[in-house]
């Protein structure tokens, strides 16, 4: 029915990847993630709190044998900083994948594409499988692919905005032109956004806030699972052409006098 979802040589069951930030508590997070059916979960690298006032490691709640841990470089504003975080993440010993973020602006959290390309080249040379968070610019996406990224991750809209897919045509163009997987990351707000995004033919979606900040994250996790499956199935099915005039669905023959 569908081709396998392979990123960096690794096959994943679900085309939905899920973030682990901003849940009200860890129990809700685990139940919501289970409801999404995701096998890839993103995590951030942060300082240990020696005074034990903060939460501690997320690995207490997420079994690394069950979930594929995709570390991010969220919060990094330079290529050097992102490379440093990626190296630390790899040293944790789970895999050599990294979701590379080099942020360029605090208000919009839009990527710094020059820093992103620089960091991507460095990390690819060090053997990382780089999944690069970028904007919907085709040329940047092509350069990231040339740099050897395992996947390119254009945004639907800014991180945490919930505005949905603002630029479907650009995302379709990126998908059409790239050979590596295209995974839309950030901006999905609700199930219809996820469905429309998958209908563009992209390989997957990564989301966090849409699930974590829903009134009922477990229910939203379930909705997102269905939406991603529905959008993918609709893309594979091929939608009917749009028409400006009506075409009857029932026979025009056989009507009564």
């Amino acid at each position: 029915m569908d081709i396998p979802f392979v990123v960096g040589g690794q096959t994943f069951r679900s085309r939905l990847m899920i973030g682990t930030g901003k849940y009200r508590d860890n129990e809700t997070m685990v139940r919501a993630i289970e409801a999404t059916g995701a096998d890839v979960v993103t995590v951030a690298v942060r300082r240990v709190d020696l005074d034990r006032t903060a939460g501690g490691s997320i690995l207490k709640y997420l079994d690394p044998k069950r979930f594929f841990l995709l570390a991010n470089t969220a919060g990094c504003y330079t290529a050097d900083e992102a490379v440093r975080y990626a190296r630390l993440a790899r040293e944790a010993g789970f895999n050599d994948f990294v979701k590379l973020e080099v942020i360029g602006d605090q208000e919009t959290l839009l990527p710094d594409v020059a820093g992103l390309l620089e960091a991507a080249r460095t990390l690819v040379a060090e053997g990382f499988k780089v999944l690069a968070y970028t904007n919907e610019d085709l040329i940047t996406a092509l350069r990231l692919e040339e740099a050897g990224c395992a996947a390119v991750m254009p945004l639907a809209s800014p991180i945490g905005s919930g505005l949905g897919l603002l630029n479907p045509a650009s995302v379709r163009t990126i998908k059409r032109r790239l050979k590596v997987p295209v995974i839309v990351d950030a901006g999905v707000g609700t199930a219809s956004d996820a469905c429309v995004t998958m209908e563009q033919g992209v390989d997957g979606i990564l989301m966090n806030t849409a699930v974590a900040a829903a009134r009922d994250p477990v229910q939203m996790g379930h909705a997102m699972r269905l939406a991603v499956e529905a959008g993918r199935a609709a893309y594979l099915a091929g939608r009917m052409p749009k028409r400006e005039v009506a075409v009857p669905s029932s026979p025009t023959e056989g009507m009564l006098d």
């Binding site: 951030a44 942060r46 300082r47």
Partner: protein
């Protein structure tokens, strides 16, 4: 002697290894990654590296994120 751990000054016993420091803070070496003066120290080497006064140590772990 004084070193800097995660950006804050901390007093530790002179000549301690990184592994001894982790143990003294009840940290599981398998659950943290250690950077010593900007250089990552792999787990098998934690017992071999001794800290000097003024050394900068970063201890990181995975937390929730998107």
């Amino acid at each position: 002697m004084e070193i800097v751990v995660n950006g804050a000054p901390r007093t530790v016993s002179a000549g301690a290894t990184l592994l001894e420091l982790l143990n003294s803070w009840s940290l599981d070496p398998r659950a943290v990654v250690v950077e010593h003066n900007r250089k990552i120290v792999r787990r098998p080497s934690l017992g071999d590296v001794r800290v000097e006064p003024g050394d900068k140590i970063e201890l990181v772990q995975f937390v929730g994120g998107g």
